[in-house]
């Protein structure tokens, strides 16, 4: 693969529709996930052809086909010798010895989506051997979850390429919020505890701090770069809680299945989303603001901010976590913050210098 630089000056109408389609696919995926997790908890019986699965598998179809169209259009434009200003998604990557010119964001989203569908086929086979969905932490499910996260990273890169525009920043904010909400599923896959340390709580702490620093660094707002994605997460949590419960019950009634005797009234995936991501965002932003005001360096301020945010998330995420988990949360938070900052730097590098409407 070779990198070629895309010149600045791409029109809004060229970069916005495909980027929005990627975001829509992420939202469709999240709706399907919230619904499916609730279905398995409250109702149970499963087949491949359920409505939640339709949402889950439509999402990669949207992002995969969008990516395909963008890559083909970019490739055709490159072969025609046209100056490459129309498509966005970051720098073009020459794929298969230059056969295709793929904007890096759409390359990531497309590969994630294609792999998701392959893992979907494997999951279908898996169910013929093991039966349907007894556990969420099966190898095909982990593959599916990872592929979905890769697709969402592609969405983020696509919007980051347009971050000089307000709509690009809004896209980053929404993508980070949606992506973190989706990734809370990792907490259900993680071990509940490792010795005295809560595994679920640490997972939420690490992913949450990573998302906050990723958003903060990409948005580069004086204030609110971490708070805005956290606010999106809170809105998603408050909406998906009743939605998941309602959707599972409505669909069960439609197909004539009873609810389990102990079906709860709480959204299962929403329960994993930390309301105190807002508090963690406040800690992160306040720490970095103070460090900046007093001439401190991000080298130590970023891990410190992450440690504080990590402690808060680790000690308040279910199941109830003690001091040991809080201390581990500080370490995980510091590392996650550093990773989030670095990931934003790498995304910066993969993006164009400037995109104007």
């Amino acid at each position: 693969m070779a990198l070629t630089t895309q010149p600045p000056g791409t029109a809004l109408r060229s970069w916005l529709p495909p980027a929005v389609l990627l975001l829509v696919s992420n939202l469709v995926s999240l709706v399907g996930l919230v619904w499916d997790v609730q279905w398995h908890a409250d109702v149970g019986p499963d087949t491949f052809f359920t409505l939640p699965h339709l949402f889950i598998y439509t999402a990669p179809a949207i992002s995969g086909l969008t990516s395909l169209v963008v890559v083909l259009r970019r490739t055709a434009a490159t072969r025609a010798g046209a100056q490459d200003t129309g498509q966005v998604g970051g720098r073009s990557v020459a794929v298969l010895r230059g056969t295709f010119a793929a904007p890096v964001g759409y390359l990531i989203a497309g590969c994630g989506s294609a792999a998701f569908l392959l893992y979907g086929l494997w999951d279908l086979w898996w169910h013929t051997v093991y039966g349907f969905d007894a556990v969420i932490d099966s190898p095909p499910h982990v593959g599916l979850i990872l592929c979905d996260q890769i697709s969402m990273m592609g969405t983020l890169v696509a919007f980051a390429a347009a971050r000089s525009h307000l709509l690009g920043k809004i896209g980053i904010t929404l993508t980070v919020g949606v992506g973190f909400a989706w990734s809370c599923l990792f907490a259900a896959v993680a071990p509940r505890s490792v010795g005295p340390v809560g595994g679920m709580a640490l997972t939420i702490a690490g992913l949450g701090v990573f998302a906050l620093l990723l958003g903060l660094r990409l948005l580069r707002w004086p204030v609110g770069g971490a708070l805005a994605p956290a606010a999106v997460l809170v809105v998603i949590k408050l909406a998906s809680d009743p939605f998941g419960v309602w959707a599972a019950r409505w669909y069960a009634a439609e197909v004539g299945l009873p609810l389990r005797d102990h079906a709860g009234s709480q959204g299962r995936l929403a329960a994993l989303m930390p309301l105190l991501l807002i508090g963690s965002a406040v800690l992160v932003e306040a720490t970095l603001l103070l460090a900046r005001r007093f001439g401190g360096s991000p080298r130590w301020a970023v891990p410190l901010a992450g440690a504080l945010g990590g402690v808060l998330l680790a000690m308040t995420s279910p199941p109830g976590s003690g001091l040991t988990t809080g201390l581990a949360g500080a370490v995980v938070g510091a590392v996650a913050a550093w990773l989030g900052w670095m990931a934003a730097t790498l995304i910066d590098q993969s993006s164009t210098e400037e995109i104007t409407a």
Partner: protein, 183 residues
């Protein structure tokens, strides 16, 4: 703009085509519970018939269990604790009806992770008073390929991401960039 709309229409059309199999499915069909083997357990004063949808039991298989005390479940309550080799309980909840066999208690799409000896411990309460009983079960190896191979395949996306990040990192050297540690 016309080209953008055409591309959008193309994408939506292909999405519709790709979703055709799912849309064509008339309605999900859910298999009834078929009990292929039964064991009897004495739980204090109650005889409980434990039904199995699969036999012999295999690790990681999605299983159906039914629990039928003599005299039915209407006037009784109970809990079921499941553990392996005397280890910590993997399940310790009140007994509830099987979603597809509502006249029985049961577990549906439930798997036992790991081969070896498992114990189902029942606590029942009803007209004849409380009682406790245990059922010891042997779970065989998981079907399909070795689970380690499956986990490697499931983790491939993570390896791919790690490899890609390593390559990009080596190329960009973000730690040495002037702007990385600037506000």
């Amino acid at each position: 703009m016309t080209r953008a709309l055409a591309a959008l229409a193309l994408v939506l059309g292909l999405v519709g085509l790709s979703a055709t199999p799912a849309l064509a499915a008339e309605e999900p069909t859910y298999a009834p519970v078929v009990i292929v083997h039964t064991e009897q357990v004495q739980v204090g004063p109650y005889q409980v018939a434990v039904g199995f949808g699969d036999w012999p039991l295999r690790s990681l298989r999605s299983l159906d269990f039914t629990f039928d005390p003599d005299g039915g479940i209407a006037d009784k309550t109970g809990t079921l604790v499941i553990n392996q080799d005397g280890g910590a309980a993997v399940r310790g909840k009140p007994l509830s009806r099987h979603p597809r066999k509502l006249d029985s208690w049961g577990l549906d799409v439930f798997s036992l992770k790991g081969e070896g000896n498992w114990t189902f411990t029942f606590h029942l309460d009803g007209p004849k008073g409380p009682g406790e009983g245990k059922l010891n079960l042997t779970v065989l190896t998981a079907p399909g390929p070795p689970i380690a191979v499956s986990w490697v395949i499931g983790g491939l996306p993570l390896l791919a991401v790690a490899g890609a990040v390593f390559l990009v990192w080596r190329r960009a050297r973000p730690g040495r960039l002037q702007g990385t540690w600037a506000w």
